[in-house]
Subunit: 280 residues, 4 copies
């Protein structure tokens, strides 16, 4: 059962094996408002975060030479900008989760929505609505980045995710899987009402922590695959550029990582779950 407008929506008392699907909920104003903010925040996320990559692609010298407008041919995955890009993604997720949490839960990521629907935290109806607007929002956001600065968009390849040369697909999958695992695990802990009651910091710091997981993930991975951990984030630039190379990795990695995290949290960590071994 989904509690509207609530950040934490865990069902205490459900046995650990009660993982499955919850199909329906009334299609009323609350759901429509949730889908609407999920769309709007997805547009803003892609605009701000991939915008940091694209708009920053103008040459380092562009500002210091009057009249210059040099842009490097390909500024994607530029190592020296890892920290700036990671900060952009992390802060953007923080502020948008802060904004959207009370309306939609602030997923902004199909992998998180998958983890929530699998553990019956949201209905399948809601999940499908979220997935559609997350994908549509990402395409819209990337189109707006292109509309703002098409030269930078070309140079940065739209901030598309791509494995660095020489990195095998399996390594890309492993990387995206582990990084998304951390994200979904923290999201589950942050929205666990049983934990929120016992530890004061959980609820207050929730959006900041979720944003900073995205920040830390990007610090690790921007240099070798641009860091996705979010199929929609990779889908947006891929559609605008009509280039779907490597895209499957950025669906398979995050979705599998999120799924494993949901199972691990529910089975081994949820406060109400059975202890690992029934000793004593």
């Amino acid at each position: 059962m989904h509690k509207k407008g609530s950040f934490a929506s865990n069902d205490i008392g459900t046995p650990w094996y009660d993982i499955g699907f919850h199909f329906w909920e009334p299609m009323n104003g609350t759901l429509l408002k949730a889908v609407w903010i999920e769309f709007m925040c997805m547009v803003l996320f892609i605009y701000l975060a991939t915008g940091t990559v694209v708009f920053g692609c103008h040459s380092d010298d562009a500002g210091t030479k009057e009249g210059s407008d040099a842009i490097p041919v390909d500024c994607l995955l530029n190592q020296s900008r890892v920290l700036t890009i990671a900060t952009g993604f992390g802060l953007t997720i923080f502020i948008l989760v802060y904004l959207a949490a009370g309306f939609s839960g602030g997923h902004l990521n199909p992998a998180i929505t998958l983890a929530f629907v699998l553990t019956k935290k949201i209905s399948i109806l809601r999940a499908i609505g979220y997935w559609i607007v997350q994908m549509g929002g990402a395409v819209t956001g990337s189109a707006l980045v292109y509309a703002t600065d098409n030269r930078g968009y070309e140079a940065a390849k739209g901030a598309a995710n791509r494995l660095i040369d020489g990195l095998p697909s399996s390594a890309g999958w492993l990387l995206e899987c582990i990084l998304t695992f951390v994200l979904v695990l923290v999201v589950f802990a942050a929205t666990d009402t049983a934990r929120a009651q016992s530890t004061a910091h959980m609820t207050v710091l929730a959006p900041l922590t979720i944003g900073f997981v995205v920040f830390a993930d990007h610090l690790a991975a921007v240099a070798i695959d641009g860091c996705s951990i979010n199929p929609a984030r990779s889908f947006g630039p891929a559609v605008i550029r009509n280039d779907y190379y490597d895209l499957w990795i950025f669906f398979a990695g995050p979705l599998s990582g999120g799924l494993i995290a949901a199972l691990v949290y529910e089975v081994t960590l949820r406060p109400s779950s059975a202890p690992l071994l029934p000793v004593d």
Copy 2:
């Protein structure tokens, strides 16, 4: 009606179409104190934030060569300093909103004041007072930066906002409009008392989140237009340098973005507003 000294000042129960103007409030000590802190914090914001741009303009080698005082001819929009500059603007807004919130609401931005007066959260009298001191404070702050380091001020063009060469005005307007839209949307969510009651993190993290929106906006835009999202911030250096080129963009973009955000929040997101569709 404005509740003095309160961070959140939303009227719950007002129907969504009740957007308009509230003209008057007693011109007492509370209002004067609010105008006074708005002025003082605006001076400090411009001094610290544009000071980060200007004082940092001394050559990278200035410190490593004894006696050197080389300054590049134009260090404005220097790409390599994006993160430092964005951090400076973001942190400064955070600390000043923390400081001023209880006295004036901590607007520090004519676009936010416009959004608040349009939705009847503050009176027109108060808005006019804020606008005057925001503009005056920005000019004062920029003058103090010049007084501290006139060589750096020349090199950085006073940290004035300017579109990078080749970027059309319409792109600049779109960019500033969207970035200010995010800012004002978050400010409205953070000061919405109805939401504050249901989600613990809203009030406590409010100033940090508002500062970090400014941070994220600057990460995206510093490299291509210096990032304004605040007409007063652009007005200060323009007056001191007596150069008003492109200035209209930094008024039109933020003001339109703030106005749209106010409408979107009040009509579609406010907890007390009617649901999007009256289903069920």
Copy 3:
């Protein structure tokens, strides 16, 4: 006595000289769950944090030149990446302490576990369990980094800790000792229930502050020894690379610093401890 699932676990009323060992606690599901999350978070810590060092080792030009996959021969201790690496370690500890605090206390560091067992905050049984999985988790995490990117792992020497050439061992010990002293002192203050009751910020900000101590420590020390402050963090890459040179420093420094901090906090700072001088 350890209070399960509680972030703060100080015994008020114990006289200051009551430092020693507490041997036993029931080996039930709560303890097993704590050991399990300590293992999982240690794997994730090493993967994310040392991954930031390793995955970022691909050449600065790798992204700007189509098809290039140049990696510098040795990119360990690269000064220009100090801030990125320090941010990675700091944020990772913040999010994992946020996650693990309610289950295991979120030690993730043998030096912290030593300080807790010495002051009878946890049992020796628990400490031994934590130490084993901290070491095992660090080795596992470093192996996963190698599996993801073996070329970067070679270039960065697995992000192993190493004294910069010319720095004597005694200086390395002093550095690691002082930096770990700060960390453990802050952990003790953050988990002191007597203080938590009198100051509102203590509990809410606890995981953020602990993460930011790690951040600040790395800012200071990454450039000269890679910054350990955690024997397990140094142990993981050492085992995978089978290179134990200098490793003793990263055991001796952190463990002695943590031990001294525990004594200093319990004897001179704990609210319930006797005043420094029995005046008045």
Copy 4:
């Protein structure tokens, strides 16, 4: 009257003109504990923060060339390291204020102590004790930095504050005065019990905000004077290097800025103070 162990220690109801001195308090264990932690945290502040400057002074190439130990002749005020250094100072103050607030108030700065004693928030006896250990702690901390890495200490001139060539003393004073003004103003707001009751974020975010003021101040000023805003921070390296050139600026600037901020806050902003104009 000082309330022991309390972060906020403002006297509500005192008329605004009641500025002066409060001479005495019992010299008991609480005061001794406060002086002790003020000393210890000052040592740690200087070690961590100026250590970030000094230990980072090893050449950018030191890590990438086996056996290299090149250090630039003078790496003080190196522009490219502004963000790293500012982060170091900001985070260190945050964590130490978090730690020390409940014991001593966490001044760690003679300018803050001056502002507190002038407004009768602490006794003259306590202020003198704090000033002595702040100065002594800074010297001790700087000596420990020298002991750890004397080569880096030479290269960075011990992270001493110094005006960049060409900057007049008056500009240095203006800069330090304004930056310290912001710091003390925020400290007064953060410790104002009357405000803490009306706005939830004030108390919880207090140490973070104070740390981030120091962060923002350093972002602005590191490149042109190394940023002091703290006479003790400048005093430590000056004593160890036996070089007192420019030191008077780093006493005059911060002390005057702190003093003005105390007056401005007490006279114009304190909630209990008379309104600016007695209208209505």
